[in-house]
Amino acid sequence: METDPNEMIYCPYNKAHKMLRKKLQQHILKCRELYKDEIELLVCPFNKAHLIPEPDFLAHTRSCIDRKIIAHYQHSAPAELTEDTRHEKIETEENWDDDDVPDYNPQLYVATANVVREPNGMFPSQRKAFIKAERKRLLGQDSDDEANEKTQSRGGPGKATCQTSQRSAPYKLPNRQR
């Protein structure tokens, strides 16, 4: 059976959210964040896109179409292991087993470097606050953008800072940039 790529489906968190099938994953990421305190859905162990309310969960795990991933694995014979694939240990000059080097975290670096950062995957209010903070960080505190923005009608200063952010503003679709 072939499903139509343009098929519309509903968000598991809010039935008022209707979208194209291919947008579901992106959408779930947003709604999961948005409704994290209100609606709790359980994630199907076979398919992460299946979000199920608790009462239906057991029934779903029994009937999930992706159950075959595990079922197939459990029901068919596993590969036989043969001894002759073993070989002498390949000795090496170096040994990194006990190395313990801190891992690089780019976020720490860009937080202080003089680079333009992208506010990816943020909610609009967070993005605004982020850009403002970036201006401050890169251009110095007294950049007169601040003063100008106060005079504008839209979005007063300090409406939402990143720290308080998660749900401070009603969620809107981000403005399309292009």
Partner: protein, 863 residues
């Protein structure tokens, strides 16, 4: 027919991937489907995805804020963007910048490695010598009545050029200038050439400072605008030069440029890449005209056009043809803003296009507009005459001389590529129109390609049996060593129980093949004994299958099918029977294999050894308890809504070098993998079963995602894996916590590196500075050798890591992993596990269409 439809859409330079796998039987062994190391100038265009996962709230220490009160140029009064005005400003900011860089603690962890031989490279980037230093004012522009065509919009607005200031930028909706109007909303009147009056509303949106990503967008716009000065034409997203077009048979090749400005490691750089576009002058109307003679006219027309992707010049959009409507013509009417209009009138008024033939049918195309929701099922009607066919047809692809001629132009060696890039730069800096735009915005491009310091990782040593190790050499190719080296592991008793299915009239070919195979294998320490031969009378698919079933009864370790000619359907049927219904590795060989005698036989012997689950060679791995995982997704050729994700994991590579693989069905609409964890879990359980413990370190190489969805990838896949890994390690009460590095592998980046202005960098070249991105832990690695064209480096982005290894070690490990693709005795452009995952997913997606038997999971049956 899924294959053919897909074929049309395939980008030109992508020809080394999918089409080959369809012809798998002929593409026997190494030559064709080995490393994808051809030059691919076509590349992914998404460029949005720098990552900032730790959110905005993480430590944003305000450093270097000592510089007080940075003066910005006066706001509302400033009428002319003068360079001088911002002079002192630049100075001040420079100082600022210096302090920031210095204030980083000296012992900070870096992503730059140190090992390897330093090498000086050029890369296809230009520095920006200067960039606009003043603030840019951002407006939104609306027209009433609405205007569809961007060019017309620009024309209308240009009447007010004087008010907007000399160097304003307008992309059809957004307006960027240096001038701030008094009011937030300005209303202007204008009249178009047709005498229509328009009301233009200009709304103030905000200021754009040099500290935000929108500033980079504006820079991109400025560059694009100045490129238009070279008389380039926009097709899709890139600009092409119709004046430099090359005629090739029935198509035209338009050279073009792909540029993007973005923040790189420490500077904002311009990336410039040469691309090509195949343009066909043919319209759908021409195709319809050609089919007129047939008696079954309508069916014939449908057959020839359905599924084609067309480009409409007037709005520069592409559509897929879903249906032809012979009941309508351009004289049919439709409702346009409450008024019935014919298509002829519509195109005349809206686009000023006169439709010549009023008796052609109409094209129906489903709207693929991203504006989703209610529009999704709308049907768009198009006029055949105005629809230009895009892409190459399968017929064209089959024509060798044509494809070769095409490759001649698209595949450029480094010297020629540099020359083209420099010509572009020179033209941009000397053409009056372009210079003016750049000057207006105080933007100046460097005239030299950027220099990058790279490092070359020393050639790796390849481990064969008998403790002999050979260096892979500077070209990373160890094919010749198979003459006197034995494979690392082979079955102890050799290949003793196996069957051959052969058409009777090919018996002589078979004998020759078996002789060669025997000789080649013996040299490599692999004992191939006499097979059980099953002679078949004809070469029907059903006969083969029947013989295969017969052979399967005596539980052979492998079944070899001899084909007189390559035949994809028969190939698929055999593979399906072997892998889905039974669990027997199959090997398909065509008569062509005999032509190259021993060298092909060597490759087949290696392949057979792999299919039995043994290892031809290994590299020296300085880590024990390491598991590398590769994951890739391939679409199903039969059902568009399905795709198959394949995961291949290495088990311990120091003492028992084997690989584990698993496949799962997933939805073709999902970019991110929904069922990754069950698959990883299978690999972990297998590792535990074999080694009685879980791996100490795990490196996950993820292929098949664009850089645009990195953030989602992190949220959706990485977090999940990390969480569940922890739980799994706790479950078995492991003494150590899991150490994981999640690395995104991207083959199609626009970045190129050149050595000595004319050569490709040698395999093992690593670049982890200057052209990398500051928000990522990333590096470029050239692992493959190419003989033609420019090598395209693979980009590795360490999205998550707690693996406690240095960048040097990660880079080296990745390079080592590129040596283990057993279909190719050289390095591949992605780590072997990725290449395997890709191979497996493609095999399942194009031939099997079902999940193979688990009993095969430790064998390279998909090679």
């Amino acid at each position: 027919m899924g294959d053919q439809e897909r074929g049309r859409r395939r980008p030109l330079d992508d020809s080394d991937r999918s089409p080959r796998s369809v012809q798998e039987p002929r593409a026997k062994v190494f030559r064709d489907n080995g490393p994808h190391n051809r030059d691919r100038s076509e590349a992914s265009r998404s460029y949005r995805g720098a990552s900032s996962y730790h959110g905005a709230s993480t430590s944003r220490g305000i450093v270097g804020s000592t510089a007080c009160a940075v003066e910005a140029p006066s706001v509302s009064g400033a009428s002319a963007p003068s360079t001088h005005g911002s002079g002192p400003n630049t100075e001040r900011r420079r100082v600022d910048r210096y302090e920031i860089v210095n204030s980083r603690p000296a012992d900070i962890v870096t992503k730059r490695g140190q090992d390897g031989t330093p090498i000086k490279l050029l890369s296809n980037f230009y520095r920006l010598k200067t960039k606009p230093q003043w603030r840019i004012v951002h407006y939104h522009v609306d027209f009433a009545p609405e205007v569809e065509v961007v060019r017309v919009r620009c024309g209308i607005l240009s009447e007010h050029a004087r008010i907007l200031g000399t160097g304003y930028l307008f992309d059809g909706a957004q307006l960027f200038t240096t001038k701030k109007f008094e009011q937030d909303v300005t209303v202007l009147q204008a009249t178009s050439k047709q005498g229509v009056n328009y009301t233009i509303t200009i709304k103030f949106v905000g200021y754009i400072s040099a500290a935000e990503p929108r500033f980079l967008q504006v820079l991109n716009l400025i560059l694009r605008r100045s490129m238009k000065g070279l008389n380039l034409e926009q097709v899709g997203r890139n600009l092409f030069d119709p004046h430099a077009r090359i005629k090739l048979f029935e198509v035209e090749l338009w050279p073009g440029y792909e540029t993007s400005i973005r923040q790189h490691e420490s500077d904002i750089l311009v990336c410039a890449e040469i691309t090509h576009k195949v343009m066909r002058s043919e319209t759908i109307y021409d195709i319809l005209k050609r089919t007129t003679h047939s008696d079954r006219y309508i069916e014939e027309c449908r057959l020839n056009t359905l599924g084609l992707v067309v480009l409409t010049d007037y709005n520069n959009k592409t559509y897929r043809i879903n249906e032809l409507d012979f009941s309508q013509s351009p004289l049919s009417t439709f409702n346009c803003k409450g008024k019935d209009t014919t298509f002829v009138e519509y195109y005349l008024t809206k686009y000023n296009i006169r439709i010549r033939d009023h008796r052609q049918p109409l094209i129906l195309s489903k709207n693929r507009d991203k504006a989703q929701n209610n529009k999704a099922n709308d049907i768009v009607l198009l006029i055949p005459e105005l629809c230009r066919v895009t892409g190459l047809t399968d017929d064209m692809r089959k024509k060798m001389d044509f494809m070769r001629a095409l490759a001649n132009h698209t595949r450029m060696n480094p010297g020629r590529r540099i020359e083209r890039l420099q010509t572009f730069n020179r033209r941009l800096q000397t053409t009056a129109d372009s210079v003016k735009v750049l000057k207006d915005w105080n933007m100046q491009l460097d005239d030299k390609l950027i220099e990058v310091q790279g490092r070359v990782i020393a050639p790796q040593r390849i481990v064969f049996n008998n403790r002999s190790r050979v260096s892979a050499g500077d070209n990373a190719d160890w094919t010749r060593y198979f003459r006197d080296q034995q494979m690392l592991t082979t079955p102890r008793e050799g290949l003793d129980r196996w069957a051959v299915i052969v058409p009777e009239r090919n018996l002589r070919d078979l004998k020759q093949l078996l002789d060669n195979l025997h000789r080649a294998a013996r040299g490599m320490g692999f004992n191939i004994q006499k097979p059980r031969e099953s002679w078949i009378k004809d070469d029907c698919t059903s006969t083969y299958i029947q013989a295969l079933d017969d052979c399967a009864r005596c539980d052979p370790k492998l079944i070899l099918c001899f084909f007189a000619r390559n035949n994809p359907e028969r190939y698929a049927a055999i593979k399906k029977r072997g892998y889905v219904d039974r669990a027997i590795p199959t090997q398909v060989v065509t008569t062509n294999a005999n032509r190259n005698g021993l060298s092909v036989a060597t490759k087949i012997a290696i392949q057979i050894n792999c299919k039995l689950g043994y290892t031809p060679w290994m590299i020296e791995l300085p880590l024990s308890g390491l598991m590398t995982i590769g994951f890739d997704i391939a679409k199903c050729s039969r059902n568009r809504s399905k795709a198959y994700g394949a995961l291949v994991a290495s088990m311990d590579l120091q003492q028992n070098s084997t690989f584990f693989s698993t496949v799962a069905e997933c939805s073709a609409y999902d970019v991110l993998a929904n069922n990754l964890w069950p698959m990883i879990l299978k690999a972990l359980r297998q590792y535990e079963r074999e080694h009685k413990k879980l791996p100490t370190r795990i490196i996950f190489y993820r292929d098949g995602v664009s850089s645009g969805s990195l953030k989602q990838l992190f949220e959706y896949e990485v977090k999940d894996i990390v969480e569940k890994l922890d739980a799994e390690y706790k479950r078995v009460s492991s003494t150590t916590a899991p150490m994981l590095a999640y690395i995104v592998v991207t083959k199609s980046s626009n970045t190129r590196f050149f050595l000595d202005s004319m050569r490709n960098p040698p395999p093992g070249t690593v670049v982890d500075d200057v052209v990398t991105l500051p928000e990522r832990y990333d590096f470029y690695l050239v692992s493959q050798t190419v003989r033609q064209g420019t090598v395209s480096p693979t980009s590795y982005n360490v999205l998550y890591s707690n693996i406690r290894l240095s960048p040097d070690q990660l880079q080296k490990l990745t390079y080592k992993m590129c040596h283990l693709y057993y279909n190719w005795s050289g390095t591949t452009r992605v780590p072997a596990v990725c290449q395997y995952a890709n191979k497996l997913a493609t095999l399942v997606g194009t031939h099997l269409h079902a999940i193979p038997q688990c009993a095969l999971e430790k064998k390279f049956y998909y090679l």
